[in-house]
Symmetry: C2
Subunit: 375 residues, 2 copies
């Protein structure tokens, strides 16, 4: 079984186990992935980063995207929305890795096609509103030839990690390509600030800076490896903040799949498509009959419309009200879905408007190695 | 047993087997490594390259050096002398890879130290007399950030090679670092001409060029892997020409070791040191007593002085004369050694003179990505 940590009996061990790794996410129950089980007893705390913020010592944010298709969906947006919020709140530089090399190694894509998708996806990421003066987006294929430190840091990390370790962490087998086996170091390297001398090399900064990594839970294996390696190379451990995994329209136990366009809402969907997908395909936590629903109420823990609203309805009081009305049976599935349709039509329409404005030249500017602004 | 090919019973299988891989060379008998056994039934032929030469279609030479120490010895010089001869004869461009990343991954060296040794060793290589207009020397750490195609080709190769394959070819184990496991693709990539667009990208050249790799036999595993991968990526298979392995002063069964300065003659040795090492340490194929030697004659197959002369005495007739005189007992060990001392003192003295002239700026010129001259 290809679990997040094959050696840890608390994580794998029985058939309802969650499978959470960069290539497969499958929840054991309809309530979704058990995060406590994955991150274990050592909940990663943000103390170091918050202390750095209070003491006005610099740190940076690092997140990324594997550009395997043109069609990004709502779930892909979640870590970026969280990252943008963190950038606004902390006022710190952000580096965004586009792992076109990873997608070339894993998927049936050419180098050029993976690289092209990195640029296309960068437009959707820029459309999230990241501050150009504080954000550096890079493609691995390009950055390798832009900055000698990147490959040097990759080699330093690779020297510290054995095949046994990546086998245990990522579930690689002896039939996997040596490209896949070596790749985890490529995703680890941006967590080391010396990979970006043009940003962080200055008279004021004499030590490697700590970084905070907002990411989806499926990327956790990479950064557990990074946290293990960093201190051995005299770099600070990166801090992590996970966004909870975004469920498929069919519910938390199903996988959002590129081959099933009805499993997710794409950033390119029309208002009509959004409405149809939610009304027809969103898994309902409501009851079989109107009578039963009014009596027993709906189940918010499995209702996908409610789950999506938890991500995208910014008004917490309103969300609580909906929860009570739905759970009590006062509100019906159709009514809840209508509210979600309105929220998502607005969100995606605004995203599409912003994305339309972004030119290839804008992408070039974000992807140019350069100084960034920070305290 | 860490042989060149663990799965091939013709290569490993009994205790007098040769061990020949990039990290260990040990001959099973005093006569040295059995080359036919290693290269197998498929003797690599030069037909393709010679046809290209006759038809005046371009090809190139590729060789390299792992810069693990400042002190290069005579054995290191052999493939470069052969390469220089090939460059002069064929009048083709040559690329020389300095695998500073490999040495960082395998040895107790920092990135900076391995990179510094690459530049130091480049001076000894340049002193062999390579034509500046036809020769490009590169360090892996530097070239990765100089040419996007290099990393792209590395990934293409890595995608084609599984851990099972490198385990069989190189004898890697699960405790080896992922850096070591991924490295063979780095040594394979320069055998693909698109790794050097600044040399080979022109209006005249519309297809990838074939290459000829002169190298010591211990590097064969890398290029057997490359020959397997190249056609799958629509590149021509590289052709190989092996220099036979240079024996230690103590004989073909002993290893030249950096920790035993008396096992080899260094390019920095004085005339006195050369004389002392050969007279005191060179394994003799002569007989126990003068009487016995005169009667039975010496054994050229194991005599290190004769073996060395085979490499460095360019006069074939004179060499044949020495062989007959030594084998017949007419010539004594001491006399043969004196001839070798003269040859090596002259060779090394001239090398030292040329090396003294080479500045850091010369090294920079050879290591600058640029157009090269060729037909």
């Amino acid at each position: 079984m290809n679990t997040i940590n094959q050696n840890d009996p608390s994580v794998s061990g029985n058939d309802d186990d969650d499978i959470v790794n960069p290539w497969e996410v499958k929840a054991g129950s309809a309530a979704g992935v058990d995060y406590d089980k994955i991150i274990g007893k050592k909940r990663i705390d943000l103390e170091q980063i918050l202390t750095a913020y209070e003491q006005k010592t610099p740190f940076y944010l690092y997140t990324g995207r594997g550009p395997s298709s043109e069609a990004m969906h709502l779930g892909h947006l979640v870590p970026f929305i969280m990252t943008k919020w963190l950038q606004d709140v902390f006022d710190v530089p952000l580096v965004i890795q586009m792992t076109d090399d990873e997608k070339f190694l894993w998927k049936d894509l050419t180098v050029d096609e993976a690289n092209r998708l990195a640029h296309e996806n960068a437009k959707d990421i820029i459309a999230c509103g990241f501050d150009k003066e504080k954000t550096f987006i890079f493609s691995d294929f390009e950055f390798m030839a832009q900055c000698p430190n990147f490959y040097k840091n990759i080699c330093k990390i690779q020297k510290c990690v054995t095949y046994n370790q990546v086998k245990a962490i990522f579930g690689f087998t002896d039939s996997d390509s040596i490209g896949k086996i070596a790749f985890p170091a490529v995703q680890a390297a941006p967590a080391i600030s010396t990979s970006f001398p043009f940003i962080f090399d200055s008279e004021q900064i004499t030590q490697p800076l700590p970084c905070l990594i907002p990411c989806a839970i499926d990327q956790d294996p990479y950064f557990r490896m990074t946290r293990d390696v960093a201190p051995r190379l005299n770099f600070p451990k990166p801090a992590l903040i996970h966004s909870t995994f975004f469920p498929a329209l069919q519910g938390a136990q199903c996988k959002m799949s590129a081959s099933d366009i009805n499993s997710s809402i794409y950033l390119t969907d029309t208002p009509k498509e959004i409405e149809d997908k939610i009304k027809k395909h969103a898994y309902s936590g409501g009851r079989e009959t109107l009578k039963e629903h009014r009596e027993k109420g709906g189940n918010c823990a499995t209702d996908v419309a409610y789950q999506y609203l938890k991500f995208f309805l910014s008004d917490d009081e309103k969300l609580e009200e909906l929860k009570q009305d739905y759970t009590s049976g006062k509100m019906l599935t159709g009514e809840l879905k209508t509210i979600l349709v309105d929220v998502l039509q607005k969100l995606i329409c605004e995203h599409q408007e912003r994305r339309k404005q972004i030119t290839d030249d804008d992408v070039k500017e974000y992807m140019k190695p350069r100084k960034l602004k920070f305290r």
